[in-house]
């Protein structure tokens, strides 16, 4: 058997493993969502776990934990996500899946007015061990209503936390941390990352929510990546390295709290920054980072902070348009070159 530290696991399997291990450890955890198992109510006909989740991140869990802890739901996001929040307030630990982030509008009130505000408006009189899983990202040809990222909407809301794992290792660690937290945490899975493999320890571990990490050291410019954009930044850094430009890459990992200090430290070293964000640009996480780090590291900046973002448009369907929509390594590298005045 391979060494733990060397074991390769996909992002999808890392999520599945985090759920399984935490549910084993803690009998209070309940999972809710649409088709997270599938064939609901038909075990007696020999059908169970028909889907294992729309992207198979929850497969095999119902076999191990049963219908009461792995609950398929009707298409009633406001009710079942609200119920997950209520159950958390009543002493359970709940994980609810919103199939796509684009659907957040149908349950937005529950997140905005209950999950985010209950503790504050109740003067501390409640714990909310509630995690919401959802998925983001364009690139699968699913057009305007199944491709957005929109984590900036959640980051804007005081009381919520949000994590954006960029590979299998961070997916397991952040999801585990989310499930152990008594604050509401939203975990944004990126659809294009499910197949990506990385080294993932077998034992459970937590990554601290609110901490960024440096995934590549460099001295000329800081690239900040969010979710899959971290992979894009690494690709761009490789391309730039070939030209003698040494880029540092910071993987944001949390969209709230945002680890401004980590980023600012990097910028104080490199004196330049490009933030890469697949979300729409206006009032985005990238804009927020540019504003805050732009203020706090102002004296260290040799060039304006730049952003590579999606355009301020919905996501188009046709492949050529969709490819133009998503920030890629070419756009990132070009922006760095422009910033360096090359």
């Amino acid at each position: 058997m391979t060494q733990t530290a060397e074991r390769l696991l996909s992002y999808r399997d890392a999520i599945n493993e985090a759920l399984r291990q935490e549910m084993e450890r803690n009998p209070d955890i309940v999972l809710l969502g649409e088709d997270i198992a599938g064939a609901a109510g038909r075990r007696d006909q020999g059908f169970v776990d028909a889907w294992g989740g729309p992207f198979r991140t929850t497969q095999n869990l119902i076999q191990q934990f049963g219908e009461d802890r792995v609950r398929d739901t009707p298409i009633s996001e406001a009710a079942f996500i609200g119920a997950a929040i209520g159950a958390a307030a009543a002493g359970m630990r709940t994980v609810a899946e919103l199939m796509y982030m684009d659907f957040v509008g149908v349950c937005f009130d529950q997140l905005l007015n209950n999950a985010a505000k209950m503790r504050y408006m109740y003067g501390g009189n409640v714990q909310l061990p509630f995690t919401m899983l959802t998925r983001i990202g364009a690139g699968v040809g699913s057009a305007a209503q199944h491709s957005e990222s929109l984590y900036a909407l959640m980051a804007h809301i005081p009381g919520l936390k949000g994590v954006v794992p960029s590979d299998a290792y961070t997916a397991k660690g952040l999801l585990t941390a989310a499930m152990r937290s008594n604050d509401p945490v939203i975990v944004f899975e990126h659809k294009l990352l499910y197949g990506l493999q990385s080294h993932v320890p077998e034992e459970p571990y937590e990554l601290e929510i609110g901490k960024a990490r440096t995934v590549r050291e460099g001295s000329d410019v800081t690239l900040v990546g969010i979710s899959r954009m971290t992979q894009v930044c690494l690709e761009a850094a490789d391309a730039l390295a070939a030209e003698g430009i040494d880029a540092e890459v910071v993987d944001l990992l949390s969209v709230f709290p945002i680890d401004y200090d980590h980023i600012a430290d990097s910028v104080r070293k490199t004196h330049r920054m490009v933030v890469v964000d697949e979300d729409t640009p206006t009032c985005s996480v990238a804009a927020d980072i540019a504003a805050t780090v732009g203020e706090e590291a102002f004296d260290y900046l040799d060039a304006p902070i730049m952003r590579v973002q999606a355009p301020h448009t919905p996501v188009p369907y046709a492949r050529n348009l969709e490819l133009a929509y998503i920030p890629d390594a070419t756009r990132v590298a070009n922006t760095v070159r422009q910033q360096l005045g090359a």
Binding site: A79, F80, A83, G86, D109, Y122, G123
Partner: protein
């Protein structure tokens, strides 16, 4: 359903406490020129009282913007409630929530809630938690005749029905949502009719009669505890005052209508019936009223003697572990 004398006393005390509390809070808020909406449930006291008579602290309740009655009936500390409304650090919620957000998890009170319909799924979740841990706890969701047209209320009833959760959906049909009459907003005479769409019992209850509420709620709660699933109770009742302080209900309803409902006032009616049927005597009832008046008096004094919240509270209770200065990074407080 049988009611013990003890329960009768408790119900009467609850009703007079609710009424006194609200009228006094209204006066205090006005005299102090505090802002913020205060929604009085005066006239509707029978509903939370009759329902909560069957509950213990272990049971759950999700409430609305018009929640004082629910809180008091569920046993939330009245002094803390008054202090909350009067913006004191000793309030149930440190003065950070106010009238519309009173909550106390130790009493199973999941909170008053200012968004119409929004708290209903919280009760469904609490009921799911109860089932999960194998207890016989139940959860009650109170909501209004206006709220029944909110999508989340519909979704919640369906969810509770398919999972047979121990939830009692109590629709307090007080005939109005702000200035909008129920007969305009819904095309059916009895809102309880909607229960059929979820294959759960739907019961029309006289919400001006605490005995009727007590009976109907007892049956529904019994069903829920026995694992038979949710019930929808429509309690027909009336709010005597405006939607909130600024609202003059004379602009949308007749005095005759008001008088007809007030003629069936639950507190007067209870007194009459209790005495007539020899359930409780007048002196006992007087004593209970005096006690309630004293409790309210105490609660105002308690609030007056309490400090306002410390300014540092602005930044607490958002997250458990995030340093508060991180929350004010760009605020320049």
């Amino acid at each position: 359903m049988e009611i013990t004398q003890e329960a009768l006393r408790k119900m009467f005390a609850t009703m007079v406490t609710i009424r006194n509390f609200e009228l006094r809070a209204f006066t205090e808020v006005g005299q102090r020129s505090l802002r913020g909406a205060l929604h009085l449930s005066v006239g509707q006291e029978a509903v939370p009282t009759g329902v909560c008579a069957h509950l213990t602290d272990a049971d759950y309740l999700a409430s609305t913007h018009r929640g004082h009655g629910h809180c008091i009936a569920k046993g939330v500390d009245v002094r803390g409630m008054m202090a909350e409304i009067l913006q004191r650090a000793t309030g149930t919620n440190k003065g950070k929530g106010g009238s519309m957000h009173i909550a106390d998890m130790t009493k199973g009170m999941l909170g008053a809630n200012g968004v119409v319909g929004s708290s209903v799924p919280l009760a469904v979740g609490a009921a799911m938690a109860a089932r999960q841990r194998g207890s016989d706890q139940v959860a009650v969701a109170f909501f209004g005749d206006g709220a029944i047209n909110q999508g989340v209320v519909h979704e919640s009833m369906n969810l509770a029905a398919i999972w047979k959760l121990p939830v009692i959906f109590v629709c307090e049909n007080n005939q109005y949502a702000e200035s909008t009459p129920v007969e305009y907003a819904t095309p059916i005479p009895d809102l309880a009719e909607r229960a059929r769409g979820y294959n759960i019992p739907g019961v029309v209850v006289d919400g001006m009669d605490v005995f009727a509420v007590y009976d109907a709620a007892g049956a529904a709660i019994g069903r829920a505890r026995a694992g038979l699933g949710p019930t929808l109770l429509e309690c027909k009742t009336y709010r005597y005052y405006g939607h909130a302080a600024f609202d003059n209900p004379k602009n949308y309803r007749t005095t005759e209508e008001e008088d007809a409902w007030k003629a069936r006032d639950v507190i007067a009616g209870f007194r009459e019936r209790a005495v007539a049927e020899g359930l409780l005597d007048a002196a006992e009832l007087d004593a209970l009223e005096a006690e309630a008046a004293q409790l309210i008096e105490d609660s105002v004094r308690f609030a007056d003697e309490s400090p306002e919240p410390d300014l540092s509270e602005l930044l607490t209770d958002v997250y458990l572990d995030t340093p508060t200065n991180a929350l004010a990074r760009t605020a320049h407080l």
